[in-house]
Symmetry: C2
């Protein structure tokens, strides 16, 4: 039974974080939340992305930034560093709901967590850095114009000790650590990683009970390399000994299964309905992540013949023509930066060594998504060796 007066709320200020919000929203949907899904966005989010968000969230609401004109907000201009903080605080203005759970866009839920709505404002889990502060990545709150107004005045007079919403909210709700244990959400509702040596054994003991994972700090899951064949995040130095590989993998699995199709479907729709508009809506490229594809030598290599595109029959890309201009030098300066070189991690050889392709994923750019989707469709079928002197270039030469 849907509960229409309560909502999960998140916030994004650009198209990159939308990738996270879409995964979060899908994870809530997949675990059958009965609550509404609301996403607050700022003006930086492109109209194409807004359309995609509307496929997952019940409400997409644009919130203002510090250029607003009313006096309370203007007073905050004295503290320009609190811009994003101010933006997040606007969740308290969602008074069409009686209670909400705010969740950062870099979180993912692992099960139904609707029981959080049994809690009262302000309930939150302890921060793993300074555990007498709550982490403001997940919190239960009650929308109220009055509270919002108090928060703004408090921000104006006290500022935020960390320059963000967490410092401000902890100063405002400053009895959290000592007053009411029921306002302490278990850490498994906002599980973040820590390098403190006591974390590892506790994670081993309690990690399986995790309900919400919060990918705090860097790297964000969408900045990682993912190999959909091995179904794992590609480990590099930054991930050495990382306790949360399985959660990062889970994020990517959901991204590939539930979010990428959304992006490409929307793209297909747009392509057919408003082909002419595309050039103006694409805007700047936002680098998201990398997908690694290992090209195995399951088949004998095709004859090397750069003049004959037919040699790459196994790589037929149905929309070659439509994709062409995205990698054409003549359309937008940024497109020149599309990774013709960086998509190749290993030097190309003529021998039988499997090769690793790194496909960069961009938001707000049609072709990489289509291309990606096509490549992914190959993964579970057959992958033909594709050896060229300059595989990156040739790979994209197909589009010509």
């Amino acid at each position: 039974m849907p509960v229409t007066d309560q909502a999960f709320v998140t916030l994004v200020t650009n198209d990159i974080y939308c990738q996270g919000a879409l995964v979060l929203g899908k994870s809530l949907r997949n675990h059958n939340t009965s609550r509404q899904l609301v996403i607050m966005i700022t003006s930086q989010v492109t109209s194409r992305m807004r359309g995609i968000l509307a496929h997952v969230f019940d409400v997409v609401v644009e919130v203002s930034t510090l250029d607003s004109a009313d006096s309370v907000r203007l007073s905050l201009l004295k503290r320009p560093e609190l811009g994003i903080t101010f933006t997040k605080l606007q969740c308290w203005t969602l008074t069409q709901y009686t209670k909400c759970v705010y969740m950062d866009a870099d979180t993912i839920v692992l099960c139904n967590i609707d029981e959080l709505f049994d809690r009262v404002e302000l309930s939150a889990a302890p921060d793993s850095g300074w555990p007498d502060c709550f982490n403001s990545g997940v919190f239960v709150f009650k929308p109220s114009v009055e509270t919002f107004s108090h928060l703004l005045r408090f921000a104006e007079s006290h500022g935020s000790f960390d320059g963000g919403d967490q410092g401000l909210l902890n100063s405002f709700f400053n009895t959290w650590a000592v007053s009411d244990i029921s306002k302490h959400l278990p850490f498994i509702y906002n599980l973040s990683i820590s390098s403190v040596y006591t974390y590892k054994p506790a994670f081993k003991q309690f990690g399986s009970e995790a309900k919400v994972v919060h990918f705090i700090g860097t790297p964000k899951p969408w900045n990682l390399k993912y190999n959909p064949q091995a179904k794992c995040v590609v480990e590099d130095e930054s991930l050495s000994g990382h306790q949360h590989l399985s959660f990062l993998t889970l994020w990517w699995e959901l991204y590939i299964s539930d979010v990428l199709p959304l992006l490409t479907e929307t793209e297909d729709l747009e392509r057919s309905s408003c082909e002419q508009e595309k050039a103006t809506t694409t805007g700047a490229l936002h680098h998201v992540g990398q997908i690694e594809l290992l090209m195995k030598n399951d088949h004998p290599p095709p004859v090397y013949s750069p003049e004959t595109p037919a040699d790459y029959a196994d790589w037929t890309l149905p929309d070659c023509k439509a994709e062409h201009h995205a990698f054409d030098d003549t359309v937008e300066g940024q497109d020149l930066q599309v990774p013709t070189e960086t998509c190749l991690e290993q030097p190309v050889t003529q021998d039988d060594t499997p090769m690793v392709f790194l496909l960069d994923v961009f938001t707000n750019h049609l072709s990489p998504f289509c291309l990606l989707n096509h490549l992914l469709s190959l993964i579970d079928t057959s992958i033909t060796v594709f050896q060229m002197k300059n595989i990156g270039l040739s790979f994209f030469k197909i589009y010509n």
Copy 2:
């Protein structure tokens, strides 16, 4: 008014950790605690060190290790990994006290914290790694043979998820995170460091309220280099960006002002009363830390004349003779490792560059302490340049 039925309790299992316990004990005394100070020690602590501990603690009590013979304890032998855990649990057997506060030997108090005795068992501060666990470095407990027995049985049947007392105690007192906010000691009663990015601003905001600092993990304060002239811990790579430098410095200040004199006084006493026994009581060397002394060019350098010990008149060491054998090849093999080479960090030059001496500090070894004490007495007076081709060797040649 002394409260004789309540006590602060700590534990050491070797002479090195005694350095920490002595600083902790002195910090409690300096802040006028009205409670008893109890230290539990194991058989590895040398008799000389026991004597020194008795100068600071009201009670020095040896507790057993797993070789005990009673049946409950023997049952724990099935889990030999819990040896140290078992040792710590014995604080519950101190039933001469109605309530105690346990503190790890790597903690230091910054003010009077007797108010902790207002709390009930089991009160503790959250762990900065996994904040739904309490950190077992500081906790309020009620000695009880019954609780002790339950703990042992629990340990036998459940083990410890981290192989130590923290895992065991968190599993035993497993409602800490959710049941009673009054059992949550504020984090400032067990402030440990964290590299989580949220820690830094929170420390800047709340760090000045710290009451107990806990030097978790590595490096321990006694493993650092300290410069008593600059009154600071010498930063190296392991301390880069360390938030707790001021606390580490505080630890060393207390160590030099209150603990080293104890060690040297005891040494003087021992030297006069039982010179003959010394060789047998010194035992193995335990490397503790390093003290860095910068030799400034405040005076013209003395004439270099290696054959004339009188040239080093400014370095008269009153007990040269007594110290001699400590650096003599003929007394104990370990003594050969005394840092004649390592005491010198920079290559020796004949020019006016100030030189840095690194004096290694050892426990259970008389001479380094006396030497150190003498050097420290020079710090606030005058320091004469002391340039030699091989300063380390020559430095100790004085003893010959």
